[in-house]
């Protein structure tokens, strides 16, 4: 137990320079961006005199040397003072918290679909290797792997919403219907189907291929021969022995997927008008609200750091050898 605790603490310490690096990168990008808070505010005020802009610069500490500004920025970020979005007339933190729910719902559903179906399809392909089921699954996975996310989303809308009229085209719920309780849950679930499916497709394909390869690789290992020699049934060998080991590479990729899910959600939320963080990022992009955009950027990188830590911990639970290293 203490060994595991020491391992986790070690990982936490390793994460510190990364988080610091992300903050510094964020600060540099914010400085590269055209215009600062003062010019934005002055612009809102409409042709403000230069003295006013200079006063604003002073108030925000923008006339200080760069390294003091950086320290100020780090202090602000760490105390969750994320600034104010003058375009949306709202504190950035409040804006983000409002949009977090829909994005987490979309991401969570996507994670479940892609890991669940990916592992299942990879398992089927590996158990039927070189037969027609395997060939079909492998071909579909290669195609899904090459499909642009935004395009498959649009094509699903054409098929299921416009031609068949089975599912809603955009949004997260039927606002005009004023559903409550379970009706509302059902309505949101209905709206969730196409966005989640679109966002799942790429990683489902990746997990399918990864799982198939890992299953086939593990099946050739010596411990499988040992298990067979002990007289275990093939079913038990596959599900109790091979499956557990084959799942490890999938778990590693889950950490990577979280980061790419956030990027993907910008696209998917833009396609399906899903009211989450991705759409907020998209809006801030075109309103040239760089502070808001960079806070979202920082949070998404921070989320990846946290998820990687969690994955490391789960890893030690699944494979006790890892701590020893």
């Amino acid at each position: 137990m203490t060994a595991r605790l020491r391992f986790i603490l070690g990982r936490l310490v390793q994460a510190v320079p990364i988080v610091l690096g992300i903050i510094i990168l964020n600060f540099l990008l914010l400085h590269l961006a055209p215009g600062d808070v003062a010019t934005v505010l002055a612009g809102e005020a409409g042709g403000a005199p230069p003295e006013y802009v200079a006063q604003l610069r002073h108030d925000f500490g923008l006339d200080q040397p760069l390294w003091i500004q950086l320290l100020l920025y780090i202090k602000n970020i760490l105390s969750l003072d994320l600034g104010y979005s003058f375009r949306q007339s709202m504190p950035v933190l409040q804006l983000i918290l409002e949009r977090l729910g829909p994005t987490l719902l979309l991401m969570g559903t996507t994670l479940l679909i892609s890991v669940g179906f990916g592992v299942l399809l990879g398992l089927i392909a590996a158990m039927r290797v070189r037969r027609w089921a395997d060939t079909m699954i492998s071909i579909l996975a290669i195609i899904a792997y090459a499909t642009p996310l935004f395009w498959i989303g649009l094509m699903l809308i054409v098929l299921f919403s416009i031609k068949l009229d089975w599912l809603p085209t955009t949004g997260m719920e039927t606002v005009a219907a004023f559903y409550e309780g379970w009706d509302r849950v059902l309505d949101i679930a209905w709206h969730l189907v196409l966005p989640a499916l679109t966002l799942s497709l790429f990683y489902m394909a990746l997990y399918t291929r990864l799982m198939r390869a890992a299953m086939l690789e593990q099946a050739g290992m010596e411990y499988v021969t040992t298990a067979r020699a002990k007289g275990l049934t093939e079913r038990r060998i596959t599900f109790r022995h091979i499956l557990r080991n084959a799942f490890l590479p999938v778990l590693t990729i889950v950490g990577v997927q979280i980061g790419s899910l956030l990027g993907g959600s910008v696209i998917v939320e833009a396609v399906f008008a899903w009211p989450g963080l991705g759409q907020l990022a998209f809006q801030s992009l075109f309103a040239r609200d760089f502070n808001l955009l960079l806070v979202i950027f920082f949070l998404s990188a921070g989320l990846v750091v946290i998820v990687n830590l969690v994955v490391d911990v789960i890893y030690t639970l699944l494979d006790p050898r890892i701590e020893a290293r």
């Binding site: 990364i18 290669i142 642009p148 416009i162 956030l262 910008v266 990846v304 990687n308």
Partner: protein, 277 residues
């Protein structure tokens, strides 16, 4: 001799050959665009919303621009950005990986921390932020894709260097009094080329996907025709003219698929021991 056997090994995979055939077709399409569709692909040629297989092979878009011209010119854009961005990423990744793996110690530690930092940041959001700050253009698209794609290459090259560093031919080079740079670039690097080529070829496919997504979001160069832009422009007319989005998407899919298949074929041909996936 070696080349012939390499080709034979590549040709042994049917999917690799299919990919190569599609890729050659796309290359021909891109090269012939100025011949068959001279002039500006943004030019208005006819009434808007003409369906495909009429007077214009692929119809016209919402402004009356020729879809076929857009597809042909877009092929060149995708391939060019995919290739140049990949070369830039290979350049950065190889340099960082080579120095980290060759020198080890503090240099390795620092460079790998940097790599880890860039690998932690979600790449597509990073690319969006970069293009937004540099303002959309051809060069900012290429820079953004290169900046987010180099970390895996650095890790790969570092790994190769770490294992090659202790080999006898490197020790022989040290004994001969060879300089560090010469050892890195003339002796060790050529031995990593096959791994770099395979990863690079797959990276071209990813780069094309990222480019199309950026263009779809309206972050592409406004003066250059691209498939992602065409899909973004056709989006509003999904209900009445779904083919405006469908056709460029199929072009992206086929191109990316072809490059992936060729990359995997190359992997099997160049690294017969490492049949991953």
């Amino acid at each position: 001799m070696i080349r012939a056997s390499l080709w034979q090994r590549f040709a042994a995979s049917r999917s690799g050959l299919i990919g190569l055939a599609i890729l050659v077709l796309v290359l021909i399409l891109a090269a012939s665009a100025p011949v068959f569709f001279p002039g500006d692909p943004f030019a208005i040629v006819d009434k808007p919303f003409l369906p495909p297989f009429g007077t214009h092979l692929l119809g016209t878009d919402s402004l009356g621009r020729d879809m076929a011209a857009g597809i042909a010119h877009g092929a060149g854009t995708s391939l060019m950005i995919g290739l140049v961005a990949t070369l830039a990423a290979l350049f950065i990744g190889t340099l960082i990986g080579a120095f980290a793996g060759f020198y080890g110690g503090l240099v390795d530690n620092l460079l790998m921390r940097l790599t880890e930092l860039f690998q932690t940041i979600p790449s597509f959001i990073f690319a969006i932020v970069l293009v937004a700050i540099l303002s959309p253009s051809l060069s900012s698209t290429i820079i953004a894709i290169a900046v987010v794609s180099w970390p895996p290459i650095a890790r790969l090259v570092r790994g190769e260097f770490l294992s090659l560093r202790r080999r006898e031919f490197v020790e022989a080079a040290i004994v001969l009094g060879m300089g560090d740079l010469q050892m890195i670039f003339r002796q060790i690097l050529p031995n990593c080329l096959s791994a770099i080529i395979v990863t690079g070829s797959l990276l071209v496919a990813t780069a094309i996907l990222v480019e199309s997504a950026l263009a779809f979001l309206g972050l592409g160069d406004p003066n250059i025709m691209s498939w992602g832009f065409m899909i973004g422009a056709g989006r509003t007319y999904l209900r009445t003219a779904w083919w405006l989005c469908a056709i460029p998407g199929i072009a992206i899919l086929l191109t990316v698929l072809a490059i992936n298949l060729v990359g995997e074929g190359l992997n099997d041909a160049l690294n017969p021991r490492l049949r991953t996936l």
